[in-house]
């Protein structure tokens, strides 16, 4: 488990493969997180400031507000699924970066 020679972290960090990995991660995580936050905060904002619109019924007594709240669950699950899928690729890239050091 212990490394035989000390790890040269700066060299690893400077590797183009590592930098590429970080760029890929950022390209997914940043927009995904921002989207999630905006979609989620839209809920209290709309419910608080546009209550009449949100109270409109879409199916029987089920209104826009309730449907939008339920959609938050779907949004979170979908995002999680997409993340796990793309993260599996990152695992492979990360393993390639540290190959020979672990």
């Amino acid at each position: 488990m212990s490394e035989k020679t000390p790890v040269n972290w700066e060299a690893l960090e400077a590797k183009p493969e590592f930098r590429a990995l970080l760029a890929q991660k950022k390209a997914f995580i940043l927009p995904a997180f921002i989207f999630c936050m905006l979609y989620y905060i839209a809920l209290p904002v709309l419910v608080g400031y546009f209550p009449e619109m949100m109270k409109q019924k879409v199916w029987g007594e089920v209104n826009v507000a309730y449907v939008f709240a339920l959609s938050q669950f779907i949004m979170a699950w979908v995002l999680a699924f997409l993340y796990v899928r793309v993260a599996a690729k990152w695992d492979k890239s990360a393993a390639a970066v540290i190959h020979g050091h672990d």
């Binding site: 488990m1 490394e3 790890v7 972290w9 700066e10 690893l12 960090e13 400077a14 590592f18 990995l21 970080l22 991660k25 995580i29 995904a32 997180f33 999630c36 936050m37 989620y40 905060i41 809920l43 209290p44 904002v45 419910v47 608080g48 400031y49 209550p51 949100m54 109270k55 029987g60 007594e61 089920v62 209104n63 507000a65 309730y66 709240a69 339920l70 938050q72 669950f73 949004m75 979170a76 699950w77 995002l79 999680a80 699924f81 993340y83 796990v84 993260a87 695992d91 990360a94 393993a95 970066v97 540290i98 050091h101 672990d102």
Partner: protein, 523 residues
């Protein structure tokens, strides 16, 4: 009245057995603090879910939806979406770069002593508020269910919890959480089924009834599907909508800063398992919170308010158990009560675990003794003593505050503190090269102080509803930006830290690849 008692004792006996089994397997700090890092993805997912679905979730949200309808459901939504923050930002870097506690990550490249001291303080504060809420809930429930007075009920719960933690450590509390989470899901599914059955398995009928909720015929119909019954302008004044946004901010960002949740990610072998455990937790928790629709809203169509009232006061924490009684008879009532009790016990155990681990590992070993263990096993001994003291203190506080203090208020405080003090520092430490010790200290201290002060000055605080200088019950919208700002400014206005910046490369590589992370111990 004997059936609940018998069921309690059966469940308690089972978990005590598990505790003693785990105690035999406990050797070494990795086993005590991190369950040997041998917990699998789905097991940890269940344990995280168990830790998370506390008394405030099951009992509190049912009650909130019962009274305030849609606005209560907002808690359910926030509690689930919060896991995206955990999944995308925090879980894997934490597992890769830390050892036992959140402060391990923070102290990675910053000066350990001030950072660990403050992180330990923050962990203790968050855990204590959360714990007192659970203890108060436990005391009130057991008092109602079994008939013993509040104080002995609280003491009894506290002692049981101490046995779990002191003898079993993380492995035992993990398995208690897993079993409890399974029981909670079974209970929730059964309750939901019975509610639907009451409405002849017709969603149309169900939602119609909710839109004309008359509390079992005892009150004028109220449309609980509509937002605004708690945070709407008509009810809460112009600050209502902002209070709701503030609450939502605290919820969605707070989970990623809750020490007792974060510490669960150290119990799995690697970051990839940490990731899958979050996803498992999201599936379970999401399903659970969607079901709160059924038994929360549903309860308002079935249970009369009189059935929940004792001594003229409406005890909203009892909505779920009473619903079980009305729909499923004494046996189901006993089962749900046992699950509620187990819920509280397990969460309290988890909280004590993370708080005592933080004190022993962060403060005692690293701050006071510079990372050296004087004798082997000393860190564990300190953790066990801390667990005892923390348990005793929370029992004392719970008794002092009494059964009428609002448990949801205390839990909300915990989330706000976590989001304001812990999250900014975690995020900046992993993602900002320039971040230094002064920034971390400023962020932790400011976030902690501002959120607590604002809560004390809020309508739920010391001045009461009328005289409160701060108009929001939830401080998040103010305290979270201030926490980030303090961490950012503290860094920019102080001297650069070349050591911290030099170590950033190492932290980055570790956090994103897992090289050099703490491996599982075999046992």
């Amino acid at each position: 009245m004997n059936t609940p008692l018998i069921m309690f004792l059966a469940f308690v006996g089972l978990t005590l057995l598990i505790t003693f089994w785990a105690a035999k397997k406990n050797t070494g700090a990795s086993a005590y603090f991190a369950a040997g890092r041998s917990i699998t993805g789905w097991q940890n997912g269940l344990a995280v879910a168990g830790d998370y679905m506390s008394a405030a979730s099951f009992l509190g949200i049912s009650g909130m939806i019962y009274v305030a309808g849609y606005d209560g459901f907002m808690y359910s939504v926030g509690f689930l979406v919060a896991y995206i923050t955990v999944l995308l930002i925090v879980a894997e870097p934490l597992r890769n770069a830390g050892k036992y506690t959140m402060a391990d990550l923070l102290a990675y490249r910053l000066k350990p002593r001030p950072v660990r001291a403050l992180a330990s303080l923050s962990t203790l504060v968050v855990s204590t508020f959360y714990m007192i809420a659970q203890m108060v809930g436990a005391g009130a429930i057991i008092k109602q269910l079994i008939g013993i007075p509040f104080e002995p009920a609280v003491i009894g719960v506290g002692l049981l919890m101490l046995v779990y933690v002191v003898f079993g450590g993380m492995l035992a509390t993990t398995w208690v959480q897993i079993i409890k989470a399974l029981l909670l899901m079974v209970g929730a599914i059964m309750l939901s089924y019975l509610v639907l059955k009451f409405h002849h398995f017709s969603f149309t009928e169900f939602f119609n009834a909710v839109a004309h909720a008359d509390y079992g015929g005892s009150a004028a119909p109220k449309n609980l599907m509509e937002p605004g019954l708690k945070f709407g302008v008509a009810v809460a004044g112009p600050w209502g909508p902002i209070d709701l946004i503030s609450l939502c901010l605290g919820l969605v960002l707070g989970t990623a800063g809750l020490p007792h949740i974060l510490v669960r990610f150290y119990t799995v072998p690697d970051a990839k398992t940490a990731r899958s455990s979050v996803v498992w937790a999201m599936a379970i928790i999401g399903l659970f919170y969607i079901m709160t629709t059924l038994f929360g809203f549903g309860a308002a169509t079935i249970i009369e308010k009189a059935q929940l009232t004792t001594d003229g006061k409406l005890d909203v924490n009892m909505v779920a158990p009473i619903l079980a009684k009305v729909l499923g008879g004494e046996f189901f009532f006993a089962f749900i009560s046992a699950v509620a009790f187990a819920t509280i016990l397990a969460v309290v155990a988890g909280l004590t675990m993370s708080a005592s681990a933080s004190f022993a590992h962060d403060f005692y070993s690293n701050v006071l003794h510079h990372g050296k263990e004087n004798r082997p096993g000393q860190e564990i001994r300190v953790a066990r003593i801390t667990a005892f003291c923390v348990g005793a203190a929370s029992i004392g506080f719970a008794i002092y505050l009494g059964p009428t203090v609002n448990a949801a208020f205390l839990v909300g405080l915990a989330f706000s503190v976590a989001a304001s003090a812990n999250l900014p520092v975690i995020v900046l430490s992993v993602f900002w090269k320039r971040f230094n010790t002064t920034g971390a200290v400023a962020g932790l201290a400011t976030g902690l102080v501002v959120s607590i002060v604002l809560i004390l000055l809020s309508p739920s605080g010391i001045y009461g509803k009328e005289g409160a200088p701060f108009p929001l019950s939830n401080p998040g919208i103010v305290s979270i930006p201030i926490g980030f700002l303090a961490a950012w400014l503290g860094t920019l206005l102080s001297a650069r830290d070349p050591e911290a910046e030099a170590k950033f490369a190492e932290l980055k590589v570790r956090a994103h690849t897992g090289l050099g992370s703490e491996k599982a111990t075999s046992h």
